[in-house]
């Protein structure tokens, strides 16, 4: 009798999708693995919007030189340069963390210590790669 009622209750909760959730991000202590995992997702979404903006930037070229001037002025301001450097970082981070994921997919780097080291390399490396991208692109070398 009890089992039947309990099963009905569980079924009703399941159908209403009100079953309890497991502890989420705010419950766990932050670690390099969780930090990089959520940052990878956020940066992926930012890159999606960034590439869309780049498409719009390309399409504004079709509007002619006069209409393009406003965008050119913005890109030459400090905010424009900041946006470009930020894009360098989001791309750099995504490249390095994606390489880390591909190494995992190949079956390597699962050891906890190695995973932490590769995580730190991806994070620190993203800043180094940002500087390299910017300086190589601007012909500083």
């Amino acid at each position: 009798m009890f089992n039947e009622k309990y099963e009905t209750l569980v079924y009703k909760l399941f159908m209403q999708n009100k079953n309890p959730l497991s502890p989420h991000l705010q419950i766990y202590k932050w670690q390099i693995s969780s930090l990089l995992s959520i940052t990878h997702r956020i940066v992926g979404v930012i890159n999606f919007f960034a590439i869309t903006l780049i498409c719009l930037w390309t399409l504004t070229l079709l509007l002619g030189q006069n209409n393009y001037q406003t965008i050119q002025i913005f890109l030459n301001t400090i905010f424009g340069k900041f946006a470009v450097i930020s894009l360098c970082w989001t791309f750099s981070f995504h490249i390095l963390n994606e390489i880390r994921h591909l190494i995992w997919d190949a079956g390597y780097g699962f050891d906890l210590k190695i995973s932490k080291i590769t995580g730190i390399i991806a994070l620190v490396g993203s800043f180094v790669l940002t500087i390299l991208f910017y300086f190589i692109g601007r012909n500083f070398f």
Binding site: N17, R41, G44, V45, N47, F48, I51, T52, I54, C55, T58, L59, L61, L62, Q65, Y68, Q69, Q72, L75, N76, G80, K81, V84, L87, C88, F91, S92, H94, I95, E98, I99, H101, L102, D105, F133, Y134, I136, G137, R138, N139
Partner: protein, 107 residues
Amino acid sequence: MHVSTKKWLFTKISSLILIPLMFWFLMSFVSIYDKEFFEIIGFFSNQPSKILFSVFLVVAFFFSALTISEIFEDYLHDDRIKNVANKALYLFAILIPLLTILGIYTI
């Protein structure tokens, strides 16, 4: 092959193709973003920039659509909303690169 396995394989293959294209695009973009109108037009109307940029856009939107649909899978619990969100995402990921590629081929 299971549909999820296919999706995973496509994500991994596209990410492998995307990495060198991201390197190329970022260095090219940094070198031209603040240049004069005609210099940027010159960049997009010459090869190999034209073809590389087109491939970059197709692969980047393909990869993004696959990975963002995974985010929808994790955070959207209503099947109808998830379905609409996925369809809107796929439509966006086809239209935007298509329009841009058509745009640069008319420059």
